[in-house]
């Protein structure tokens, strides 16, 4: 399976060298990806097959292979559930050249998706409504 960054205009991500911050502006939730999570994100959004990403990042981890693979599957499932990445057909395009960056010292832990949802309550208090292209009075059901 391959993935790519969500095409939604309401999802953004930015790398700060040792950390990736992603945000979903519909839900108001922010995400932090460090260590192996950042490496996996890099590989996944580059279109590298998920199995290869898991194997290559897992090889840099201090976790047992099966434990890492299980954590990596949960991590990818979480990225999909949070609508940060979406699956794409494998198709016939060759997989891009990619390899994870080894940790500066030691070995990676299992990947975790850190979630910051402190804005959710604020959004509920102050709802923002989008409308469809044709204006009133049609609420866009996809944003519900």
């Amino acid at each position: 399976m391959r993935y790519r960054l969500s095409p939604s205009p309401n999802v953004s991500a930015r790398s700060f060298g040792d950390e990736i911050v992603a945000a979903n502006f519909v839900t108001g939730v922010y995400y932090s990806l460090l260590g192996s999570a950042m490496q996996m994100w890099d590989g996944l959004v580059a279109g590298v097959p998920c199995d290869r990403v898991v194997a290559q990042v897992g090889a840099l981890s201090d976790a047992a292979p099966e434990a890492f693979a299980q954590a990596a599957r949960s991590f990818v499932d979480a990225l999909v559930a949070e609508k940060l990445i979406v699956p794409i057909e494998d198709g016939t395009a060759p997989a891009p050249a990619w390899s994870p960056v080894p940790p500066a010292e030691g070995r990676y832990a299992v990947p975790l998706l850190e979630r910051f949802d402190d804005m959710e309550d604020l959004l509920l208090l102050d709802p923002v409504h989008d409308v469809e292209e044709m204006g009133w009075p049609h609420a866009d059901p996809s944003r519900a």
Partner: protein, 341 residues
């Protein structure tokens, strides 16, 4: 009819009315964004001009144009349907910025981004909240800023010698107290709640001369209270509406951002500790979304570039103004804080 066309038709009608009534023009600047303002004389609308920090002698030919109005006959269709008016309605895309809020009896901002023309319509011009008088046209500025490097944010800023400290935090975090304490110590006051920023190079620009002091802090800032235009009472919250331009003129309305600080909750000792850019970005975005709505991906990209290039710190609450002055002065002078996070 498409909402964008509604906005454009309304702008044409406003243009006609402004010409017939010979409404006066004012040229102002928000960062590098020059705007020609035309305001009608209804209710409190003329007061919206008072707190805008930078006035221009004349608008440049490429200035954006904003009409501020209290009535727009025949354009009720521009308002949300009645069942949608109790709340916020937002539409922001490359063509149009449309924001309806049910505050102040109903307040609408409509910007045609292609032509850089817009209107701000207070449907009850006698009931304009003091928040709007202190931060006039903030959403219109936001609506006009999409394509440029600047963006308005919810933050305070003070500067010395052309270098500024950006103070980021949610409402109630202490931004106003910190900015006024620094102003009392001789810093240039760029804003306590809303400023304009950009990255590459990192700069901050004053938007407003206003400062809004909570009642429990009146006694701490006697000089600022001397510059108060009055005490407002929005929904039972008393605030002194201070006009900082009455204290001293602003030498330079823009400054280089030397650092971003995020005030921490009470209980931590006064001092600085490095803060990750990611944490700072989240705080900036969260605070900004409290009052500035729409275009989040663009704002996120601009603020991410800003925090990636500027040192960011958590700031333990400094109740002693001299300690605060010295702490922030160290940032301006490039001193590296030694307390660890």
């Amino acid at each position: 009819m498409d909402l964008r066309d509604l906005v454009r038709d309304a702008l044409a009608a406003v243009e006609d009315a402004a010409g017939r009534e010979r409404r006066p023009l004012s040229a102002v600047a928000f960062g590098d964004l020059a705007v020609t303002l035309r305001v009608d004389g209804r209710g409190r609308i003329p007061a919206l001009l008072d707190m805008i920090r930078v006035r221009l002698d004349a608008p440049p030919p490429d200035a954006a144009v904003i009409d501020v109005i209290g009535a727009l006959d025949g354009f009720g269709a521009l308002l949300p349907p009645p069942d949608r008016r109790a709340g916020t309605v937002l539409r922001a895309n490359p063509d149009v910025y449309y924001l309806w809020r049910d505050e102040a009896g109903g307040y609408l901002t409509g910007i045609d981004r292609r032509t850089r023309r817009g209107l701000v319509w207070f449907t009850c011009p006698d009931r304009i909240a003091s928040w709007h008088v202190a931060r006039p046209l903030l959403h219109a500025v936001h609506g006009l800023a999409l394509g440029g490097p600047w963006t308005p944010i919810h933050a305070a800023a003070v500067a010395r010698g052309g270098r500024a400290v950006l103070i980021c935090g949610m409402s109630g975090a202490g931004k106003t107290s910190m900015a006024l304490a620094c102003a009392a110590a001789g810093w240039d006051y760029l804003g306590d709640d809303a400023v304009m920023v950009r990255a590459d190079p990192p700069r901050v620009a004053a938007l407003y001369a206003s400062a809004r002091l909570r009642r429990d802090t009146f006694h701490l800032f006697p000089a600022a209270m001397e510059a108060s235009r009055g005490i407002s009472d929005d929904a039972g919250e008393l605030k002194a509406e201070v006009d900082m331009s009455r204290l001293r003129p602003l030498a330079e309305p823009q400054a280089e951002i030397a650092a971003v600080v995020v005030p921490q909750p009470d209980g931590l000792p006064c001092g600085l500790a490095p803060l990750r850019p990611s944490d700072t970005l989240r705080r900036l975005m969260d605070a900004t979304r409290q009052s500035i709505l729409g275009d989040e991906p663009a704002v996120f990209a601009k603020l991410a570039s800003l925090v990636a290039g500027v040192p960011c710190y958590a700031l333990g609450r400094c109740r002693d103004p001299a300690r605060l002055d010295a702490t922030l002065a160290g940032l301006i002078e490039g001193e590296v804080p030694c307390r660890s996070a």
